[in-house]
């Protein structure tokens, strides 16, 4: 389990190591064909800032070689904003006194039809973490309901046990996104004081349970803004490295959500500039040529338009972050405010105008 490896690292030591990297370390990392975690530290360090253009050029080349001139499209479908956790940074937090909403079977189908009508074949099902209302059986039913509309089903819900994942995979689930939020254990506790999510170890071992269950793809990431992004990203990369070695039949993707405003919101403890986000994206690509890098609508349109060529392989568009947001109840509570409000069609046109093929379908349930 990753836990065993995780506790061999000390947060402060890792942080000090990243911040002590020099131009020489960065140049050595850039000159290699295969890069180690130590090289990754150099690439995300302040010392790499002057090398950003070189990193971007390399990231562009490597991404093109592996993924071609394509961007894969997906969109989230929020099933519920019920949540039993208190999280300091989330609109769904239990202590946020707003009306809750969980979609019925008929509403799920209406939302699925609307999303399919926008062209999407890859869907991401999202809920808060509320086992009593949106537990395994609810999600399993949701998967069965949306299966006729989509060729690829992903989910971002509460962490589960291995046997529960196995049941959902059997039902048609392909991908699970599970973000650690932060690998800083003490801060994690501060941001998640109540609910099952407050169990750091259970969450950090979730990808292990997914790997053992035989999931096709796992999405990792931290919420950028909670802690030092460089140190958190190192732990994400170390987690990825461990998972790729251990569950070698599983694919991986990385996301880099930056904290966005929401109802009752928290100000980021650590700001990450656009320039730094580009550095991080390029560093991930240089570290791992095969990992999928995903971009959400949290980022503003100008940034999204320009980042397409720098290492990204998939993007969401036309997103609604509230249950029923597409047609059922557009005004229900959203998880966070999106920044890019363009329609899927507008975003796809922009991608095409940059010389990229928009891929709507890249999986088939027949293969599961």
């Amino acid at each position: 389990m990753y836990q065993d490896l995780f506790y061999q690292h000390n947060w402060d030591d890792v942080k000090a190591s990243i911040y002590s990297k020099t131009a020489h370390d960065v140049e050595r990392a850039l000159g290699k064909e295969k890069r180690t975690l130590e090289d990754f530290k150099a690439l995300i360090s302040p010392a790499a800032a002057p090398y950003l253009e070189q990193m971007a050029q390399l990231s562009h080349q490597l991404t093109k070689k592996r993924f071609g001139n394509t961007i894969q499209m997906y969109t989230p479908m929020y099933l519920s904003n019920e949540c039993q956790n208190i999280c300091t940074y989330c609109g769904f937090s239990l202590d946020n006194k707003v009306r809750r909403r969980t979609l019925s079977d008929e509403e799920i189908i209406r939302e699925a039809e609307a999303i399919r009508g926008m062209g999407f074949e890859h869907i991401l099902l999202v809920t808060g973490e509320a086992n009593r209302t949106v537990g395994v059986q609810y999600i399993k039913k949701a998967i069965e309901l949306v299966k006729p509309y989509f060729s690829h089903i992903a989910m971002e819900v509460q962490p589960m046990d291995q046997d529960e994942y196995e049941e959902l995979i059997e039902a048609g689930l392909n991908t699970v996104l599970v973000y650690q939020e932060t690998y800083h254990k003490e801060d994690y506790k501060k941001h998640h004081p109540k609910g099952k999510k407050s169990n750091f170890d259970y969450r950090v071992d979730t990808p292990d349970r997914l790997g053992k269950a035989g999931i096709h793809k796992i999405g990792l990431g931290v919420l950028i803004g909670l802690e030092d992004w460089r140190t958190d990203s190192f732990f994400t990369a170390a987690h990825l490295d461990y998972l790729e070695r251990t569950y070698w039949q599983t694919k991986y993707s990385i996301s880099f959500p930056r904290l966005r405003p929401f109802s009752g919101g928290l100000e980021p403890k650590v700001e990450m500039t656009d320039r730094e986000l580009v550095q991080l994206i390029c560093a991930y690509r240089l570290f791992d040529e095969e990992v999928e890098l995903s971009l959400s609508t949290r980022e503003h349109p100008i940034f999204r338009d320009n980042i397409i060529k720098l290492g990204i392989t998939s993007a969401s568009a036309g997103s609604k972050t509230n249950p029923g947001g597409y047609v059922v109840e557009p005004e229900s509570l959203e998880q966070f405010e999106i920044s890019d409000e363009r329609s899927a069609e507008e975003f796809a046109e922009m991608v095409k105008s940059q010389g990229y093929e928009v891929v709507w379908k890249d999986w088939d349930l027949a293969l599961q």
């Binding site: 070689k65 095969e290 093929e357």
Partner: protein, 257 residues
Amino acid sequence: MDQLVIADKTFNSRLFTGTGKFMSNELMEQSLLASGSELVTVALKRVDVDNPEDDVLAHLKHDQFNLLPNTSGARTAKEAVFAAQLAREALGTNWVKLEIHPDPKYLMPDPIETLQAAEEMVKQGFVVLPYIHADPVLCKRLEDVGCAAVMPLGAPIGSNKGLKTLDFLEIIIEQSNVPVVVDAGIGAPSHAAHAMELGADAVLVNTAIAVAGDPVAMGKAFGQAVEAGRAAHLAQVAQPRVTAEASSPLTGFLNQL
């Protein structure tokens, strides 16, 4: 005319092509037409077989192209067989490029699952072209179970590194009773020409065309390189010699005795 025959089809072009990674389906179509390729592989996972208007398939509707559905994404023999059945029903072809790579990082083919799937698919009437490592014994085993061709890799998929498995490709070509198609890793027309000079029956190229600066021109260049390589093979390429061949033999005096 030096044609290639695989199962029930005859090809004038020995360049097989892939359809992924292009900037657009229009560019893919133009590039593949320019290449002269007559066998085009398409991933089942990328096409909507239930949609007669599917954009990828719409751009491949040319008499020049024969479709070769592939099972990319399958991790087991069972998944690959099921995918092949679906493709046969939807696309109306019993040809299949068998791909089983449980390792999504380097897309290395699984020899055990591939052999199992190939045997089952042949029994079910498929024309099976398996993508495999450059493993001479595995190639013979696949030939034994009835594969129509074998497709050993030159280097990891998409790596553009050329014929890194050269020594093994030479053995496979020497021993094979079915066509040998070098698939994966070919990054430049010179690599394709080299494979053809060695005696490969065909090559399959995707990334090197799709991500070239000018994919249409690169498609054409690959077509020409494959033709040149094949012509060189038929003309019997001069072999480098390890021993000197003196114009005045030292043993000539023996004829005088």
